[in-house]
């Protein structure tokens, strides 16, 4: 069976339905049983104008990064697509409108910009749209039909998705669009194909409800709902807003409550308030919002109140680059705040991981009575992946350590020092459990007290170490070569997708290498990292920030030297970039003197 791996790129203006057609394509491919990863780029300003790009990679085995070069470019607007022609590989294809409506000057048509190795597929896109629908609005559907016909992809899933897409509109709109699709599908099917792009049969035909396609933010929402989120408080900020937007619809359907607060400070304050009152509560933000939340997060640490904070990172510092991706809030998430403010920080590496981390964050917050930050980034938040969700809800409905019956009637100490450093908890309304919590250092009873600071600091630190063994979540994992290897790549967050691809490519070149992802950044699982270091001749830590924030974290845990790879282009790291570093390090292991 052929291993399918093709990447398409739709490029046009917002008015061309660029994102919409990318969406239909990826949904249809997922429906057909392929694995999909996709990422859309919108104009930074309001919609309706500007360039839109939708990239979709279709594979038989789930991929976790987009390829540097796409196989096919579909231009719905040549002036926007022309600069991206160079992103199409040799012998890849460019599909474009052969019959635009207006005369144009030399150089304005994409056909004049193709590189020698690329294959042109001009289609009368506008004409076919006009003929089948009576207007040019369905140019995107025409291009889609041609594409599907050209590559021999079955039309049924496309029909279903197109019908779903237009189900709330006049039935004639669905019909004309299907006609447009079919007409150009036939045209594509009868076109002699010259490229070398093959679509194998998808692995599994039995696509049940389990397999879904969703973005990282949608996975967070799903994880929250499956974990029984009760209350959500948020303030809009790119790229986290869609979490709140989805919850605004979904949470009340399940009887939950959501409030758009006046700022991020209120959002985290209310989240902690609700956590104190005993519900599962969360907020979502980005770096600038997390910066505002940090003081309140410290209160959550000191007063030992559960809370969950999702932070989707973007380019920083300050307002930075709201629509560009980066991994530069790690220092803030792990260290931010006054005093020794130990907290749990989780960073999923893909969409499925975002679901897992989201749900598990609530268990951990309750069980260890602490704020839990889940760090995503713009790329992970917005990209689509096909994910397999467990049929059984994998999350515990209540993980709190409450007072046992035996303890009832005895004077209650909210911050009692216990063997596992976790104090039994009561919530307001509970008989006999009355207590006051505070951001002041306090004794076991919760009364302000400076004498006990050492002991309480130790309690707050040690209780979190149990999270290393928290059931049902992978907090670190090694991939690729077992035992001793020449090169090890250590990574976190969405960049691990590119790391994983680079590792596979390096292995294919015969380089003995291995990759390890670290999902829990705080507390840091130092022991497994040390073990990984001792197995690897050279270590590479690629991440999307300038300072090497994860590398700094690792440097505090291990003494061996390693190599950093830091990039801040605002877009995902290039797999080739990582691969080159792996090659370089592999050479160094082979001939140490050359280094």
């Amino acid at each position: 069976m052929t291993d399918t791996d093709i990447q398409l790129m739709f490029c046009g203006s917002a008015g061309d339905g660029t994102i919409a057609v990318g969406d239909i394509f990826k949904r249809a491919m997922a429906k057909a049983g392929y694995k999909v990863i996709a990422f859309d780029i919108y104009p930074p300003e309001i919609r309706g104008f500007g360039k839109c790009i939708s990239r979709v990679r279709v594979t038989s085995r789930q991929a976790y990064s987009l390829k540097q070069q796409s196989d096919v470019l579909v231009s719905l607007n040549d002036s926007y697509a022309i600069p991206h022609v160079t992103e199409i590989r040799d012998f890849g294809s460019v599909i474009y409108d052969q019959a635009p409506i207006a005369p144009m000057a030399e150089g304005e048509h994409i056909s004049g910009h193709l590189l020698p190795g690329q294959l042109p597929y001009g289609l009368r896109i506008r004409e076919i749209s006009d003929q089948t629908t009576g207007g040019s609005k369905s140019k995107n559907i025409v291009a889609l039909g041609y594409l599907a016909g050209l590559y021999g992809i079955k039309g049924d899933p496309f029909h279903q998705i197109i019908q779903e897409k237009f189900q709330h509109k006049d039935p004639s709109i669905s019909e004309t669009n299907l006609r447009a699709f079919d007409t150009s599908y036939d045209e594509g099917a009868s076109t002699f194909r010259l490229d070398f792009i093959e679509l194998g049969t998808p692995e599994r035909q039995d696509v049940g409800n389990k397999v879904q396609m969703m973005t990282g933010n949608a996975a967070v929402v799903r994880g929250c709902l499956d974990a029984g989120l009760n209350n959500f408080f948020g303030y809009p900020i790119t790229p986290a807003t869609s979490i709140m937007e989805s919850l605004a619809t979904e949470l009340p359907r399940r009887g939950g409550r959501i409030v758009q607060t006046e700022d991020e400070i209120s959002a985290i304050a209310a989240t902690i308030g609700a956590g104190y009152a005993g519900t599962r509560a969360a907020t979502a933000t980005s770096g600038p919002g997390l910066a505002l939340m940090i003081e309140m997060l410290g209160l959550g640490v000191m007063a030992e109140v559960p809370s969950v904070i999702f932070c989707s990172q973007r380019g920083g510092p300050s307002t930075g680059m709201p629509t560009k991706t980066e991994q530069s809030d790690l220092h803030l998430a792990v260290y931010g705040g006054a005093g020794d403010a130990q907290r749990i920080v989780l960073a999923p590496t893909n969409v499925e991981g975002a679901y897992k981390c989201a749900g598990k964050a609530f268990e951990m917050a309750e069980k260890y009575q602490t704020p839990v930050i889940v760090l995503l980034d713009l790329y992970l938040s917005n990209r689509y992946e096909t994910v397999v969700l467990p049929r059984q809800n994998p999350f515990e409905a209540d993980s709190s350590k409450y007072r046992s019956h035996l303890e009832r009637g005895v004077a209650y100490n909210r911050f009692a020092l216990t063997e596992d450093n976790i104090s039994p908890r009561t919530i307001p309304g509970e008989e006999g459990g009355i207590h006051t919590i505070t951001g002041l250092e306090h004794n076991e009873m919760g009364r302000p007290n400076d004498q006990i600071h050492s002991k309480m600091s130790e309690k707050r630190h040690n209780k979190l170490l149990q999270a290393f063994d928290h059931p049902g979540i992978t907090i670190h994992k090694r991939f690729g070569g077992e035992g001793k290897v020449d090169v090890g790549i250590l990574g976190w967050g969405s960049t691990f997708g590119e790391i994983f691809e680079a590792m596979l490519m390096a292995q294919a070149e015969g380089i003995n290498c291995s990759a390890m992802k670290v999902v829990m950044l705080s507390p840091l699982p130092s022991q497994p990292i040390k073990e990984f270091f001792s197995d690897c001749g050279e270590i590479l830590i690629p991440e999307l920030n300038y300072e090497g924030q994860f590398a700094n974290l690792v440097a505090s845990a291990v003494s061996q030297p390693f190599t950093r790879l830091n990039r801040v282009p605002g877009v995902p790291m290039q797999v080739e970039d990582i691969l080159n570093q792996i090659r370089h390090l592999a050479d160094r292991v082979k001939s140490p003197t050359a280094a």
Binding site: E262, S266, A269, G273, A303, G429, T436, T438
Partner: protein, 290 residues
């Protein structure tokens, strides 16, 4: 006020207090306030109100910020959350959203409320969160040993205004009226009966109730809002004041020389929780309740 002049016998009084049961609501921790501080009478007022309304202690949560006033939760035997400077209201909102059954009191001083916490007040008010906000206004920062506050009068000399305060004081009542607060009252720590009555009314109100409590700082303010000054200035709202007349309330609120005490304004409208329930109904496709 006339009652104060009648002789009070300590033993009789103690018996009366014990019988009321309100001492149970006091915690065993001794207040850290200076002797003579107006806040003592506020604790009494709160315990009397809770007692009077027959609310179970376990169902009361007192949320405070940072400052002398915000030490309040430690001195009550109820659930309490001593939070951050200025963040009383959003935390209290979160608690109320999480559990409607709780009686939530938010407590802060004038600095906590109107300096660092000012941005949260209009939003708690417009959402009509069903909490009772007690602001203890002494016109000074006491816990940090005497600096000007947003309600300090012009010309007030403190450690941070050695050449006299030049910033105009805020008028909290006018602000609260403009924020559409659904219950607004003012009281005075020197009149415990009035105070406990106002606290009782404020807690009983369904919605966001704001009680402004004038209270002297006996340690750092010897000139401005002293017991003797306030006693001479404070006056009762006229008997004929209509608490549904916002214009009249605004006029009274503007009288800063002789601050009136009593209920300024009151209206009944859906609370945040009512609206969140409505949203749940809408989301579930049920008919919106009348």
């Amino acid at each position: 006020m006339g009652n104060l002049r009648q002789p009070v016998y300590l033993e009789e009084k103690l018996e009366q207090v014990r019988e009321s049961g309100r001492l149970n609501i006091r915690s065993k921790s001794l207040p850290t306030w200076c002797p003579g501080c107006g806040y003592f009478s506020i604790v009494d007022g709160v315990t009397m109100a809770i007692n009077h309304l027959q609310i179970h202690q376990k169902d009361v949560t007192v949320v405070s910020g940072i400052g002398c006033a915000s030490r309040f939760p430690f001195f009550l035997d109820t659930y309490g959350f001593h939070t951050l400077h200025g963040r009383t209201l959003p935390v209290a909102t979160g608690i109320k959203v999480a559990n409607d059954a709780l009686t939530v009191l938010a407590i802060g001083g004038d600095g906590d409320a109107f300096a660092i916490g000012g941005a949260h007040i209009p939003h708690a008010a417009r959402r009509n969160v069903d909490i009772t906000y007690l602001v203890f206004d002494n016109g000074i920062y006491g816990l940090t040993k005497g600096q000007t506050s947003p309600t300090s009068v012009l010309g007030f000399t403190t450690s941070t205004s050695p050449y006299e305060n030049q910033d105009r004081p805020l008028n909290p009542l006018l602000m609260m009226l403009s924020y559409d607060t659904s219950w607004i009252g003012q009281s005075y720590a020197g009149d415990p009966r009035h105070l406990s009555d106002m606290i009782t009314q404020a807690i009983a109100h369904r919605g966001f109730s704001y009680l402004h409590i004038l209270s002297p700082c006996v340690t750092f303010d010897k000139t401005s809002k002293t017991y003797s000054n306030l006693k001479a200035q404070v006056q009762l709202l006229p008997d004929d004041h209509d608490s549904s007349d916002k214009i009249a309330a605004i006029k009274h609120a503007m009288d800063v020389d002789n601050p009136p005490i009593g209920l300024f304004y009151k209206e009944n409208r859906p609370t945040l929780s009512d609206n969140l329930d409505l949203i749940v109904d809408k989301a579930r496709g049920r008919n919106a309740r009348a």
